[in-house]
């Protein structure tokens, strides 16, 4: 129970920090904000790595396969998201 409550605390506080930080982003940058935050939501890559990379006879193959597919999706999200955001933001910066 303690763990759950601690995690919930972190969750709620992070949402509040998010509200605070993101309200300051001007509408002009909303598209890069979305693609950038999308890249951040690719953090599921952490879980995917663990699921895909764990080995041992006791570890179910199905979990490994699902983990690998998850890893592909999450990596697309992370790599694609950060790259495309960078591409967009550099257009805003020049001149």
């Amino acid at each position: 129970m303690e763990v759950l409550i601690m995690l919930l605390t972190i969750f709620v506080l992070a949402i509040l920090v998010g509200f605070e930080v993101i309200t300051k982003v001007p509408p002009t940058l909303h598209t890069p904000l979305m693609s950038g935050s999308n890249a951040i939501s690719g953090i599921a890559i952490v879980g995917a790595l663990l699921a895909a990379g764990t080995i041992g006879p006791a570890y179910p193959t199905a979990a490994k396969v699902l983990g690998t597919i998850a890893l592909v999706f999450a990596t697309v999200n992370v790599v694609g998201g950060f790259l495309v955001t960078d591409r967009m933001l550099r257009m805003f910066r020049k001149r």
Binding site: F11, P27, N38, F73, F82
Partner: protein
């Protein structure tokens, strides 16, 4: 301090970098740095994970690099290819698609985690009865898995529909009514079916009977007409939450029966994941239904909402695998999406429920288009060029039509030409919901090298628009429709608009007099100070540029 502590500290660093990423997004000067900080955070999180002792939980042999390298390699190749090749006009599709991938990754990670946790050998490895802590942990994991499946699947399937609509290969227009019915009855069937399945699995007893009866009751309530008696709406909300809870119970117990939890070492009855996948399917259907009837100008709301869901799904996955960095990052993205959704809804003066479920269209007393457009005046490139000679201040209002016509470069060339030749001050007034996603127009104009300072928000330009000598509206319609201000019965009543009708001259560049997404005529086109230039957005500016050069 052991290795896991170090890994967790690295996760903390990553989370802090993500927060700075979003903080630095507040200004174009710092935004590039912000995005790179986020990427660095992600790199740190990945490296830390690869050093994590969690890999050793099942075997001390180390890490199975094969799958990891395959996953990372394939993903990185697809991601990089998509990111570098995509056209700026197609950005909404890409973001929509990526939202879906986030949802998919979350579901699969949660599924893999719960599979690993309930695999029989895992329990036999730990002899003896479970401690209370472990039970709480398992319960948390199960609830989080169900939540992940729900949100993640809505995100995944909703995003693919949204992607299909944006990429225009899903142009089917079902009547909204059909979908609502389908959702309603499908949902009912799922709830009752779940209840029956539950009873079938665990036998008829007091507890299971209560579950079944409440399932049926909730369906009846959900199906009742909303105005039957006061308070029914609240009751419906309760029922909806209740049925979600019910599906949690059903799915949980199908996965893991209590007697399995306490009698460790026995062959478990918990290898059955059909309930989990059924839940994913039902939630996916819900996602499809939610997005299917939404189109056109409402798309920004959907994209923002799905963005939020993809974050929340990641956060829920964090609860499944007990991981702080997932929870923090997911919460940040969730918050960001909620804020954007809210901004989009406000910019249309509609509630989220109205955008998702109501049909926007002409009301019975919407004036007839022919009547409204009786006095429309048509202009030409030469005439516009002539008028521009005396203009000091020009405002350009872009809409989705500019993206369709790929006119942003021509617009930009036009703006620099009149600035050089006539000394016009040019600025761009961008409505928050112009385009198919939040900030869509700004990205296109930035691609065409329009300086950031010239990109103004609606409120900024509305204050000074009366001093504008000429406003050029390119590919926008509803967001400049003065009916929003004047007619309280109109479909777009109260929606904040760019008050272009208050400028000295308005030139509307549009291919025809066809209505915008709201389906209502725009009296602006027939106003005394308005001129129509019927043309494709790009050709129009090319012609005007030529006319100016010749004069």
């Amino acid at each position: 301090m052991d290795a896991q502590h170090l890994v967790n500290l690295a996760y903390l660093v990553a989370a802090v970098l993500f927060i700075f990423d979003l903080k630095w997004m507040a200004h174009p000067r710092t935004a590039v740095r912000g995005n790179r900080a986020g990427a660095l955070g992600m790199l740190i999180a990945v490296i830390a994970t690869l050093c994590s002792p969690a890999f050793q939980e099942y075997s001390t042999a180390g890490i199975g690099w094969t799958y990891i390298l395959i996953g990372l390699g394939v993903g990185a190749a697809i991601g990089a290819f998509a990111a570098l090749r995509i056209k700026m006009t197609s950005m909404p599709e890409l973001v929509g698609l990526f939202n879906g991938f986030g949802g998919a990754a979350s579901i699969l990670v949660a599924a893999a985690a719960i599979m690993a946790a309930v695999s029989s050998d895992y329990f036999t490895l730990r002899q003896g009865p479970l401690a209370a802590d472990d039970e709480a942990r398992i319960l948390q994991m199960q609830i989080a898995t169900v939540v992940t499946a729900l949100i993640g699947s809505v995100t995944l399937f909703g995003s693919f529909v949204a992607f299909g609509k944006l990429a225009e290969f899903l142009a089917v227009k079902w009547k909204l009514h059909t979908w609502q019915k389908l959702v309603k009855y499908g949902f009912m069937a799922a709830v009752i079916g779940g209840g029956v399945a539950y009873v079938a699995t665990f036998g008829f007893g007091l507890y299971t009977a209560v579950v079944l009866v409440s399932a049926v009751l909730m369906c009846v309530v959900l199906n009742a007409k909303s105005d039957s008696f006061p308070g029914l709406k609240a009751l419906k909300m309760v029922s909806l939450l209740g049925s979600l809870l019910l599906c949690v119970i059903v799915v949980l117990h199908a996965d893991m029966r209590e007697d399995v939890l306490v009698t460790i070492g026995k062959p478990p009855l918990i290898q059955d994941f059909s309930a989990f996948w059924a839940l994913v399917a039902v939630a996916g259907l819900l996602g499809v239904c939610l997005t299917f009837s939404i189109g056109g100008a409402d798309m920004p709301v959907v994209i923002a909402l799905l963005n939020s869901y993809s974050g929340l799904a990641a956060a829920a996955t964090g609860f499944v695998i007990n991981n702080n960095v997932l929870i923090i990052s997911g919460a940040l993205v969730g918050a960001s999406g909620i804020i954007l959704t809210n901004i989009m809804c406000k910019a249309m003066n509609r509630s989220l429920a109205n955008v998702m479920f109501a049909k926007l269209g002409p009301t019975s007393d919407t004036p007839d288009a022919e009547e409204v457009y009786k006095n429309v005046k048509v202009t030409s490139a030469d005439e516009i060029a002539m008028m521009l000679e005396t203009c000091e201040r020009v405002v350009i209002v872009p809409g989705y039509g500019m993206a369709v016509a790929q006119a942003q470069h021509a617009v930009r060339d036009f703006a620099s030409l009149i600035h050089e030749k006539y000394g016009c001050e040019v600025e761009y007034s961008v409505h928050p919901v112009a385009g198919r996603m939040p900030g869509h127009m700004n990205v296109l104009l930035a691609e065409a090298n329009v300086p950031y300072e010239q990109l103004k928000e609606m409120d900024e330009t509305n204050g000074t628009i009366e001093q504008a000598d000429m406003v050029l509206v390119v590919g926008a319609n509803d967001v400049v429709n003065p009916v929003a201000r004047t007619d309280p019965t109109s479909a777009i009543a109260g929606m904040p608009i760019i008050d272009v009708d208050r400028a000295r001259t308005v030139v509307v560049i549009k291919r025809s007099l066809s209505p915008g997404f709201a389906g209502i005529p725009n009296p602006l086109f027939a106003m005394d100070n308005a001129l129509m230039f019927f043309n494709d957005g790009k050709d129009a500016f090319v012609q005007i540029i030529e006319a100016i050069k010749e004069s």
